[in-house]
Structure formats: structure tokens, C-alpha cells
């Protein structure tokens, strides 16, 4: 069972986590990750995220399906924000449930690496220096390369 949500409005990861526990049913392990907007010591006022409507959802659905099959996960949820966000707001929440913990850990790790550099999103930081487009860092590229081995 999978759920992928692209949200224009703020969300609270703890609420989604509770909902997912009900959705996941009879399982042995749940792992989750929540990402937040960093204020960078006041330098960043707003993080703006844009997406390719239709394609972004479809690509994430495809990757969640892949993750569930590869890591033997029985339920998975991804919520990702778009639009303008302030420092401290949640950007993304990924959670996975499986019979045993290893699959749940790896599915969430895999999906976050994918979302950082392979999902159709584009980020701008808007702050004291104006607007700046953000590109994947070399760490992000190394992270996703792990899963090809």
C-alpha cells in the first residue's frame, strides 16, 4: 500500500506518522524521516519549491513502488511540500513499514536519496542575498550512487 502526497500547505510530520501507523496495519517495524527548512542563521527567509505537475507525482509513485519491492516493505508514505516555506517548516516526510526493521530503514534512506537529486523538484532560497537556485551537492550524488552497487 502506498501514498504519495504533494502538498501546497504546511503539514505536521507527527500527525502523518500517527495516520500511517493506522494505515500500515499488522507490521513489525516502522521507520520515518522528516526534513525541515534550515534558516541558515537568519540568512534564508523563504524556501521556494516548484515541481512539474503530473510528472513529479508519477515519478515518486514509481520510485516508491520500486523501493517497496526492493526492500520488502508492506506500506509506504511520502508527503512533499511545494510552494513557499519559512525556516522551521517541514519540507518532506517519508515513512515505511515492514515485517522487520532492515527493509524499513533502507526504504526510507533510498527514497530520501532519490528525492534529494532525482525527483522533479526545484528549490530556491530567498533571503538577505536575494533569490538563489539550489542544486544537488556532491554528497547527494554520492548518496544516490550507493544504491546502484
Amino acid at each position: 500500500m502506498q501514498q504519495v502526497v504533494i502538498s501546497k500547505i504546511p503539514f505536521e510530520p507527527s500527525v502523518l506518522a500517527n495516520d500511517f501507523r493506522d494505515f500500515a496495519g499488522d507490521i513489525g517495524a516502522i521507520t520515518s524521516f522528516a526534513g525541515y527548512v534550515r534558516g541558515e542563521s537568519g540568512r534564508v527567509n523563504t524556501l521556494r519549491l516548484t515541481h512539474y505537475e503530473g510528472m513529479t507525482e508519477a515519478e515518486i509513485e514509481r520510485m516508491v513502488k520500486t523501493a517497496m519491492a526492493r526492500f520488502n516493505v508492506t506500506a509506504c508514505h511520502v508527503t512533499h511540500r511545494i510552494g513557499d516555506m519559512a525556516a522551521g517548516e517541514a519540507i518532506v516526510f517519508v515513512t515505511a513499514a515492514s515485517a522487520h526493521r532492515r527493509g524499513a530503514f533502507e526504504a526510507v534512506d533510498f527514497l530520501m536519496d532519490y528525492l534529494k537529486s532525482e525527483a522533479p523538484f526545484w528549490k530556491q532560497e530567498i533571503g538577505t542575498d536575494g533569490a538563489k537556485w539550489i542544486e544537488p551537492r556532491s554528497n547527494d550524488k554520492r548518496d544516490i550512487a550507493r544504491w546502484s552497487k
Partner: protein, 86 residues
């Protein structure tokens, strides 16, 4: 000269700062997405620079493709700056 093949072109990320989404006829002689990128860049040097950036992606009808992918009537072609989510 125009070809009577109608396409829609979209730009995402930094490319959207320098490229305008449009629906147009495919120029005669342009057969692939790479050739379309070159044609778009020939009219817009800043767009040419952006389209040449490493890590950019191209999608046709919402599927990622490589540069020699053909362009056909009714296609939606998206030129994307490097992806960054999470």
C-alpha cells in the same frame, strides 16, 4: 519554414528564469529534443548557456529522455535544470 507539427515547450528550475513556456510549430529540420534545444538556444544566448549546463534533464510527455529522442506531433517537451528536492 515551419513543419505543422505542434509541440508544447516547458522550462523548469533556473531555466524558467530565461525561457518562456510556449506552444508552437516545430521548426523544419528539427527532429530530436537535442536539436530543439539547439534551435531554442540559437535565439536566446542565456537560454543556450542554461541548456548546456551539466546535470540538466529533458522529458517528453512526462518521461525522462536522452538527447536523440525524437519530437513528434502533440509532444510536451520539458527542459529542466538539475533536480533538487527533499
Amino acid at each position: 519554414m515551419l513543419s505543422r507539427i505542434m509541440i508544447r515547450i516547458l522550462f523548469f528550475g533556473k531555466l524558467a528564469d530565461v525561457g518562456q513556456a510556449l506552444t508552437c510549430e516545430l521548426p523544419a529540420g528539427v527532429k530530436t529534443v537535442q536539436e530543439l534545444a539547439a534551435w531554442l538556444g540559437s535565439n536566446n544566448p542565456m537560454l543556450a548557456k542554461g541548456l548546456g549546463q551539466k546535470g540538466g534533464r529533458i522529458a517528453v510527455n512526462q518521461n525522462m529522455v536522452v538527447g536523440d529522442h525524437p519530437v513528434e506531433d502533440g509532444d510536451e517537451i520539458a527542459f529542466m535544470s538539475p533536480l533538487s528536492g527533499g
